[in-house]
């Protein structure tokens, strides 16, 4: 069995996908080690889902290739699909089937024996807290339950690698926390997780990250390494009466790297200068803005990604 011998859970080399003239994924390379929680991040339309679909053997790459759990995604796509779990943002359960019927369906699809199914069913019902709801219609469950049931169905065959495509979008913060606890439990048992998300606080749960933008991976590493791209830059958090207006005024001002809203506050990258050198109150005050506070903050992942995307845009124009 080559799967057990594979050095990495996922090995991607030169993976490329084009649709006509459009390059969705531009010859990317990366590896994901066994037992890692790997975060695959990027804005919508940047190539995240296309990459996942290629790694799951659903669509064929235009060029390059990948090995998933030791199997070639092109030549052995069926083996790949037997050895992975996949859960997407849409909770693709059958809404008009009951909880039990969904479990039975996926158990059958993965060829579980009756004894194994009984054992896994019990485990999933406990994990998803669905005891007593076995005969309820899946469509009537709350979002959090649906999400945990979807995870249960995707892992009913105990895969060693799970792809999670924006698993928490549209879920309330409480349910998101519970969900991540489940993911950490899985990771602790040695399961590899490949997660896409655009919640930056979730990205910090990952051991390693790759950031994809317009088909290219523009940053890769641990969350701290990614933030390290901003090591020498200073980020200022600014409280101002008219954030939107101040943002417009700052854009294009000399020495200002990036400026963007972070909630009600303004984040401004002033490059390798100090807050005193940049003198934002002196810049904004004369323009009629009431600057209430300015303080340097530790760069967040979000700051890092805004910086990466901005510099990427600058490079391409």
């Amino acid at each position: 069995m080559p799967a057990a011998d594979a050095a990495n859970a996922i090995e991607v080399h030169g993976l490329r996908k084009t649709f006509g003239d459009f390059v969705a994924v531009n010859s990317i390379d990366f590896n994901v080690g066994h037992g890692e929680i790997f975060g695959f991040l990027g804005p919508n339309g940047s190539g995240k889902t296309t990459t996942i679909r290629m790694l799951c053997g659903v669509i064929a790459p235009t060029d390059g290739g990948a090995r998933v759990m030791g199997y070639d995604v092109c030549a052995e796509s069926e083996r790949v699909r037997e050895n992975i779990g996949y859960m997407s943002q849409k909770f693709s359960l059958f809404q008009d089937l009951t909880v039990d019927e969904n479990l039975k369906f996926y158990a059958g699809v993965y060829g579980l024996s009756d004894e194994k199914f009984a054992e896994r069913r019990e485990y999933i019902l406990t994990m998803a807290d669905l005891h007593g709801r076995e005969t309820e219609m899946t469509g009537d469950l709350s979002v959090g339950w649906k999400q945990r049931l979807a995870l249960g169905c995707a892992t009913i065959h105990e895969p060693r690698l799970i792809f999670l495509d924006e698993p928490t979008s549209g879920v309330d913060p409480m349910a998101r926390r519970q969900f991540w606890e489940l993911l950490h439990d899985l990771a602790a048992s040695g399961v590899t997780l490949f997660v896409t998300t655009h919640y930056m606080d979730e990205a910090t749960h990952c051991n390693r990250l790759a950031f994809i933008y317009r088909g290219d991976i523009i940053a890769e590493g641990t969350p701290n390494e990614v933030k390290g791209a901003l090591m020498r830059d200073t980020i200022l958090q600014v409280e101002v009466d008219d954030g939107e207006g101040a943002l417009a005024a700052l854009e294009g001002s000399p020495g200002i790297g990036e400026a963007y809203m972070q909630g009600a506050l303004l984040h401004v990258n002033i490059g390798e200068r100090t807050a005193a050198e940049a003198d934002l109150p002196g810049l904004l005050g004369p323009l009629g803005f009431d600057v209430r506070s300015v303080e340097p903050v530790e760069p967040t992942l979000e700051d890092a990604f805004v910086h990466l995307v901005t510099s990427q845009k600058g490079a391409s124009t």
Binding site: V58, R81, S88, S92, G108, G111
Partner: protein, 375 residues
């Protein structure tokens, strides 16, 4: 290359039936629609018919017999398509739907006219298409009456000519329109049901995201497709059986055909319908779009297939279009088989046409299915 797991196919079929059972809008459509249509279409009134395909058996071969033939063809209602020598040959033409009406002029017809004796001509009408048949027999009566006045000018009475037309209606002596509608409805309901349900089937799963999920499991494309097709074929079979039973028992439509011929015709036609439904489902982004597309496709099928309106009443410009309507061929097959018992030997051109449609349409649907999922 394709490894099929029947266990997975069975699971997919089980799942599809569970979903159908819970779809409140589908169940009434599946079982009430066929019976409703049977009642509605069972009593459609005939329309104007021209250029009825006519075979002429001229045993007399005289000036007078020519006059009779011209009388028919000049009326515009009849168009001579063949001149068989014997009645047996004529029968074959009618069985194969080549002729709908035959005129038989007996030997000695001209002698009778010259001797001013009363005489007879035979008119045979194919009753399996009741609208054409009833119109044809009506016209034939008129033509014969005016011929009588022409050939026996000395007779004063306009109504009592010397020519007596013996109209014999084959296969459907009572000319009940329901007798021709029920067989055609078998085909029509098969088409509606398979196209409607198939066109919704895949687009529904895509809308909900379950399609995406299924293809990251070991389920293969072929397994998925069979799992989708089989339930709808089973349902269509039940519907057809329902229409057949209600038609023959309640509407008392006589069945003179063979289940083998009718069944294989319907099966071949089902492939085409499923293929069309599949294509619509793959090309549509939403279920609503698929529904609109189906309605759009349904209209020409109703109008140009001879199912509701006889092909003969169609304007000449539109007539060639009818060859592109698969329903046209199956309607002939079920009607002829149902009422006349016509077999493969008489119906092979229709079977050939349907086979071509099935291969092209279903084949295109399959290739589209592969392509769609690879991108």
């Amino acid at each position: 290359m394709i490894r099929m797991s029947w266990r997975r196919v069975r699971l997919l079929i089980w799942k599809e039936f569970l979903q159908l059972k819970r779809d409140r809008s589908m169940l009434p459509i599946i079982f009430i629609m066929p019976v409703l249509q049977l009642i509605m279409f069972g009593y459609v009134i005939g329309t104007d018919v021209r250029d009825i395909r006519t075979a002429v058996v001229d045993r007399d071969g005289s000036v007078e017999s020519r006059l009779v033939i011209d009388g028919f063809t000049n009326s515009g209602f009849f168009k001579q398509v063949a001149a068989p020598a014997t009645e047996a040959e004529m029968q074959t033409l009618i069985d194969g739907n080549k002729a709908q009406v035959a005129i038989i002029i007996p030997e000695g017809f001209s002698d009778d006219v010259h001797a001013k004796r009363a005489t007879q001509i035979g008119i045979v009408v194919d009753g399996s298409d009741s609208k054409t048949a009833s119109v044809a027999s009506g016209y034939a009566g008129q033509v014969v009456a005016s011929l009588g006045r022409q050939l026996y000018p000395s007779r004063l009475s306009a109504s009592a000519g010397g020519v007596d037309a013996r109209v014999r209606v084959l296969f459907n002596p009572t000319l009940r329109s329901v007798n021709t509608m029920v067989p055609a409805l078998l085909a029509f309901i098969l088409m509606m049901s398979t196209q409607m349900t198939m066109s919704q089937a895949i687009v529904k799963e895509r809308e909900r995201g379950t399609l995406e999920q299924l293809f990251v499991t070991p389920i293969g494309r072929a397994e998925y497709l069979i799992g989708k097709l089989v339930p709808y074929v089973i349902i269509a079979t039940i519907q057809i059986t329902l229409v057949f039973t209600v038609g023959t028992i309640w509407f008392k439509v006589p069945f003179n055909g063979t289940l083998l011929v009718m069944g294989s015709g319907l099966a071949l036609f089902a492939l085409t319908s499923l293929g069309i439904g599949l294509m619509v489902s793959l090309l549509s982004r939403t279920r609503y779009q698929a529904q609109q597309a189906m309605t759009f496709l349904m209209v020409p099928s109703m109008m140009l297939s001879g199912f509701v309106f006889p092909l003969e009443s169609m304007p000449a410009v539109l007539y060639p279009l009818s060859y592109l309507i698969p329903l046209r061929y199956i309607v002939v097959v079920v009607r002829s088989n149902f009422m006349k018992g016509s077999g493969f030997s008489a119906l092979w051109p229709q079977f050939a046409a349907m086979a071509i449609f099935a291969v092209v349409v279903f084949g295109f649907g399959l290739s589209r299915f592969r392509k769609q999922l690879n991108d």
